[in-house]
Amino acid sequence: MGREVAVSVRELVKEYDGTLALRGVSFDIYKGEVFGLLGPNGAGKTTLMNILAGILLPTSGKAEVLGHDVVRESRAVRALVGFCPQETVAYEELNAMENMMFYAGLYGLPRSEAKRRSKELLEFVRLLDVAKKPVREFSGGMKRRLNLAIALINDPEVLLLDEPTTGLDPRARRDAWHYIEGLKAEGRTILLATHYMEEADRLSDRVAIMDLGRVIALDTPEALKKSVGELSVIEVHVEEASEALKEALSALSENGKILSGEDYVRLYTRDPEAVLPKAVEATLRAGAKVISVSVSEPTLEDVFLKLTGRRLE
């Protein structure tokens, strides 16, 4: 295709005290692309991020960022990459500007340049007005925005975002998505690790689904969803999804697979028009109070269920 590769990962393995966190992961991320890493906790996303950020050494395999080997040219890689971990990296007793200046110093920025860039970035994440306020007074969303600004202090071509919206309320999450879309528009290459399927679906050009240290699927979100097949999803919302209800709806679902939560059950079918009335009837027979019933296309969560037989949590 002739697209330029920004990040290349080949057969990456990481072992911690006899446990394999990564079991031979391989993929390429193209320049200017948002690449989603979707998987449950413990899938190996953060380990992979740490290796690409130059913090951890792989046990075997190879990874390159912008042509630099993450092991042999670790310092060069760290200078080119912007890393935004899931924890707050700002020092809470300092104010936002002091934090920005500190991180700018770590990247060797001269003072005047550091000041200019810090102001620009604080403005970008809408924190310039509170730049002199101690970070301890910030809300969770503000702290995440500051994390993002810090990750951009070295004007990185490649940005590693590790669970950037975990723990945020829906509004703050939408805010964060807005900033990530802005960065994508600037042409930056972004590796986005998340366990939120809507996030991966909405922001990523391509998504790698990880489970137990392996990439089990990699494609565009649309292609992945299509891989579930020509199935439609019927989602039944109830007050309480009992075991009897799950059993009854499972009998109507393709291959007997369903996805359920405390107040919903999702079943899969090739003929939604025929199955829908049966599903409603089965729900009522199971004694559940129906709140809503909808028919939709599969999500990435359905893809994960199909591939692993488990929910994405």
Partner: protein, 425 residues
């Protein structure tokens, strides 16, 4: 290594510490509090001793009216003996007269109500006045070696002095009454000298000489000021080293720091630099506060080259204790634990190494330990130079050993740091 990154780390650390009330307490308030206590409680010269003496007159001639010296006269003199101190005059004797009741006086001595009993034996006054040997008995309370020695010394000194005065007076009287015309020329002077020889076969004088710097409060305050500087190097140095990596790990900032293009040395040097800045500030607080209280501290590096080595000694002390703190961090799980462990180790060392308490107060085995402890050597050298105004002779002998100890302690600390850093990522 990137100088800009090292300075950024140091500056951030200094700023964070400046906003941490607990850290400021240990760096600024703690030495001020300790020095104030020390200046008020301990930095005073030992007060002179007042001896409580019971006087008994078994002397039946004590009330004869025409005598030159009587036991009563001596008692009156005793009551007027003072010693000059910075606080004013202090009585040397607290006199209690018992008449002729020797048993009662000795009973009180045994009961601990008196330090000594002086019994003037019969005919003391008349013998003293007429040139014969006047006899008295002195009973000193035993049991406490220190009090016994002091009481014995004070009374001996008093009666020696009294004897001298009586001898001088007797010789003077005899000299005045010599039949000068019946003696060959110069014979009278020879006889007088011979009589002086009889009275004082060994003519000895005793003078007390105290080192100038330890005279009075100023010197003692200087001693405690440098002691407190040493304590700060010990306690804060240990805490700085112990929490260096663990604190960043607890804050969850360590991974982000190491994702920047810096190496482990940048972080170590930046953090060490910040620690040294605070140790320097703490030392200045100690010395400044000591000077404000009138402590005697010398600092003239242009005249005394040993004074130019003071910053070097402080730097070595700081690095040494930071290294020891880094070793402590190997067994600490959290920054609170690391800080607690540093205090738990530093606090006894403060007393056991002769940094805060004088070494002579320590039991012999601990004195050996204190003499070998490199930070004690540094503090002793600082005291010698800054309080006693000693020259290079006080610093140069300990310099090789303290340089070696600094390299070993900090070197081991660096190894520990690398282990802790690897474990923390």
């Amino acid at each position: 290594m990137g100088l800009r990154a090292i300075l950024a780390i140091a500056e951030r650390d200094v700023r964070s510490t400046a906003k941490d009330k607990m850290a400021l307490f240990w760096i600024v308030a703690f030495p001020i509090f300790m020095l104030t206590m020390s200046f008020l409680l301990w930095a005073n010269p030992m007060p002179p001793v007042t001896v409580k003496v019971g006087i008994v007159y078994e002397d039946t001639t004590v009330n004869w009216g025409n005598l030159t010296f009587t036991a009563k006269n001596i008692t009156d003199i005793m009551k007027e003996v003072y010693v000059e101190t910075e606080e004013g005059k202090v009585k040397v004797f607290n006199v209690v007269e018992y008449g002729n009741k020797t048993d009662e006086a000795l009973r009180d001595l045994k009961a601990g109500k008196l330090d000594a009993v002086v019994v003037y034996l019969d005919r003391f006054s008349v013998n003293a006045s007429y040139g014969l040997s006047a006899k008295a008995e002195i009973y000193v309370r035993g049991g406490d070696a220190y009090t016994e020695q002091v009481t014995r010394a004070v009374l001996t000194q008093f009666f020696d002095e009294l004897s001298d005065r009586i001898a001088e007076a007797r010789i003077e009287v005899m000299e005045q009454n010599f039949p000068e015309d019946q003696l060959p020329p110069g014979q009278k002077q020879m006889i007088v000298e011979w009589m002086k020889g009889l009275a004082w076969p060994v003519n000895m004088t005793i003078e007390t000489v105290t080192p100038e710097t330890l005279m009075g409060k100023a010197g003692l305050r200087g001693w405690f000021t440098i002691a407190m500087t040493g304590v700060q190097l010990l306690m804060s140095g240990l805490a700085i080293g112990a929490t260096m990596v663990v604190e960043e790990r607890d804050r969850k900032t360590l991974r982000r720091l190491m994702a920047a293009p810096i190496g482990p040395w940048d972080l170590l040097l930046g953090k060490t630099l910040s620690g040294l800045v605070w140790l320097g500030i703490s030392s200045l607080v100690c010395i400044g506060y000591g000077l404000a209280w009138g402590a005697r501290i010398y600092w003239h590096p242009l005249e005394n080259p040993a004074h130019a080595l003071v910053p070097v000694l402080l730097l070595m002390g700081g690095l040494m204790m930071t290294g020891l703190g880094l070793l402590i961090s190997m067994v600490a799980k959290t920054s609170k634990g690391a800080s607690g462990l540093a205090t738990a180790i530093g606090f006894p060392l403060m007393f056991l190494t002769g940094i805060w308490m004088p070494k002579w107060m320590l039991p012999r085995p601990l004195r050996v330990f204190a003499n070998c402890f490199p930070l004690t050597m540094i503090v002793d050298a600082l005291r010698a130079v800054m309080v006693f105004d000693a020259g290079l002779e006080a610093v140069l002998p300990v310099l090789p050993w303290t340089i070696l100890a600094t390299l070993v302690f900090y070197g081991l600390g660096v190894l520990a740091y690398k282990v802790v850093l690897r474990r923390s990522l």
